[in-house]
């Protein structure tokens, strides 16, 4: 209550005198002390573990950060959509809008020394790990200033300094890599964990079970996170998996089922998982969203009997990638239903408004600001040049050998491009 009075008093005299953005910053980013108690949308379901409590403490600063970050991610993905349609982004582009709560919630629970590895839907997680908008857009457009110098593309974003290990095209192959990250952490005796993210489609890969077996065998600090958006490209999960209770797979590993559209649930789950992994070895997280809409109610009931894995129940609004309209295997009602009831950004917005941390207009202004930021980043990325032709041969081997390390004359032979 005190906050409300303070904010309205400050706004009136200051808004005219002080530039808008700095007044926003003063109001929201300094308040780290007021505790706000939030309850997750649904309680956690645990498998072979005691689930964490539903109530979480947060601060206005955190709420505003969540809002800002998720709005930026949302805006970035929608901008990427337009860029793709304008043929500035080619090839594959897998968009993450709808699933932002996972990226933001996870980031809030861990440090940059913990590792995250994911598959190809990696733009927003890259952003969460500290990647900049310019780097992201430049990489998407294949420019020199991209995070992988334009040589990776949409599916190969990496940021070594912040522990973001990509960015992988082949579904499921990143999970053994994630186990390797956890192995290295255990080897070096660091008190950090590795999060290996995969989707419900990848959950049927054999290498996941192999990796889980090894992680459990050696007590590696690995957390396997299934981002269940219910569709493996065009195939709904109940058509692909006999047991869609992904958090129960690999029975001997504890699991937790989480509502992946609720950033605080994700944060709580990841915090819990990190503590668990450091003490007891691997744990699975299943981030999923309850189905909304007529088509899926029966499925939801069926699933309710089986569910109990660490799953992040979530949902993607776009299709699998830009070449997939996303409407041949699900109804528009379902998509708009989820958007109305479970949208992660809306949830945070409602929380902010109900606790009087900001007004509707201020939030809209933040979104406008973000839109401008994204547009500027795109403009800057567009100015970045394409990689030089010599870059074709750099980074194939360390020390940049070129085409052949020893040509016929023991000179480095570099092929000359037309």
């Amino acid at each position: 209550m005190a906050l409300t009075h303070r904010s309205t008093n400050l706004l009136k005299p200051l808004s005219a005198a002080v530039p808008f953005t700095s007044s926003l910053r003063r109001l929201f980013s300094t308040d780290d002390a007021t505790a706000i108690t939030v309850e997750t949308s649904v309680p956690f379901t645990g498998h072979k573990c005691d689930p964490p409590p539903r109530t979480i403490d947060t601060t206005p600063k955190e709420l505003m950060t969540f809002f800002r970050d998720m709005a930026t991610m949302r805006r970035m993905e929608i901008a990427a959509d337009s860029l793709y349609k304008a043929k500035l982004i080619r090839g594959f582009c897998h968009l993450y809008d709808g699933q932002e709560a996972v990226a933001v919630g996870m980031e809030a629970a861990i440090t940059k020394k913990d590792c995250i590895i994911t598959a190809y839907r990696d733009h927003c997680i890259f952003l969460g790990r500290g990647g900049t908008l310019v780097e992201a857009f430049a990489e998407l457009m294949g420019r020199r200033d991209g995070c992988s110098r334009g040589k990776g593309g949409s599916m190969h974003f990496y940021k070594k300094e912040s522990g973001f290990y990509g960015g992988h095209g082949i579904v499921g192959a990143q999970v053994p890599l994630g186990i390797g990250l956890a192995f290295a952490q255990k080897y070096s005796k660091e008190e950090h964990v590795a999060f290996a993210l995969y989707g419900d489609g990848a959950a049927n890969q054999g290498q996941l079970f192999e990796a889980l077996n090894m992680a459990a065998l050696w007590d590696l600090p690995a957390i396997l996170v299934c981002e269940n958006n219910h569709y493996g490209m065009g195939t709904a999960e109940w058509r692909a998996a006999k047991s869609p209770a992904y958090y129960k797979r690999g029975d001997y590993v504890p699991g937790l089922k989480v509502d992946g559209m609720d950033a605080f649930a994700v944060k709580q789950a990841c915090k819990f998982a990190k503590e668990h992994a450091l003490k007891n070895g691997p744990i699975r997280l299943w981030l999923g969203s309850c189905f909304v809409g007529k088509v899926s109610f029966e499925l939801a009931e069926k699933k309710a009997l089986l569910d109990k894995i660490l799953e992040m129940d979530t949902y993607r609004y776009h299709g699998h990638s830009m070449s997939d309209p996303g409407s041949t295997y699900r109804t528009r009602d379902e998509i708009s239903g989820v958007r109305q009831e479970r949208d992660p950004l809306e949830r945070i917005r409602k929380l902010i408004l109900s606790h009087d941390i900001a007004t509707e207009k201020e939030l809209k202004d933040i979104e406008k600001e973000i839109r401008k930021e994204v547009d500027e980043a795109i403009a800057q990325a567009k100015e970045s040049p394409m990689p030089d032709s010599s870059e074709l041969f750099t980074n194939v081997y360390v020390k940049g050998f070129g085409v052949q390390s020893f040509g016929a004359d023991r000179k480095e032979v570099r092929a000359i491009l037309p």
Binding site: C115, I117, G146, C147, S148, R149, G150, K151, G152, G153, H156, Y158, K159, K160, Y165, G166, G167, H168, G169, I170, A173, V175, P176, L177, G178, I179, G180, L181, F183, A184, Q185, K186, Y187, S188, G206, Q207, E210, A211, N213, M214, L217, W218, T394, N395, V396, Y397, V398, K399, F401, Q404, S405, F406, G407, A408, D409, R410
Partner: protein
Amino acid sequence: MERDARVCVMGEDVGHYGGSYKVTKDLANKYGDLRVLDTPIAENSFTGMAIGAAMTGLRPIVEGMNMGFLLLAFNQISNNCGMLHYTSGGQFTIPVVIRGPGGVGRQLGAEHSQRLESYFQSIPGIQMVACSTPYNAKGLMKAAIRSENPVILFEHVLLYNLKERIPDEEYVLNLEEAEMVRPGEHITILTYSRMRYHVMQAAKTLVNKGYDPEVIDIRSLKPFDLHTIGNSVKKTHRVLIVEECMRTGGIGASLTAAINEYFHDYLDAPVVCLSSQDVPTPYAGTLEEWTVVQPTQIVTAVEQLCR
């Protein structure tokens, strides 16, 4: 492993058992179970695990109990091992060594007698070497471990029992260099791994018949040491390649193409490539012998080339 704490070994039965060919004998006692890790039978995943660990800075050595089993890890080797340095724009290096016994043994059966160098040779980003003597095995292994690039080291099942006096002190051999086994004037014979011994046996017969073959163990399968090979071709003008790979798409096929492309002017005769037959290796002893190149065939080929 003693020099660098980041070096670790992982593979099936490398720890307590000491390795299926005793390559890692007693290492687990010395360095512990985490550094010499016994993995379950999950090649795809433990190769992936090694690559993930290498991304953070560890230097794992992956053993394929038989190189043929690494076909299960092909995705990890091709996509992650070979490509991550490139697709991350240089952010990650993958200093992993993948090694194991391959090649045709004594009646091991088709699936345990595979030569994977032909399948892996196209993968961009990896280096391949084949050792053939205890001396070059030690040197190449050390070089491979110290290299920042992923290296696949091909050992041969039948060469583990070789005994040789080698220096105690540390030495590292160049990963991209071929070895001059026997200098000569009449013909260049290029070979690697076990076929080196068949070639040397044939060379004895050839010398008795009056020929002077130059034998080069190419050692580096990717990239080829075209400098040494080129100088030899310029001298002798005739090339015979003797390999254990299959005829189709093997190392010999690539080497023939490379020599023809670069040294065409120096050749007096077409490059002849003796390879294994394009068949699954049969079990019966006599049939297996005919699959692989034998010394008598080498002698005949040299005589024909030098006519």
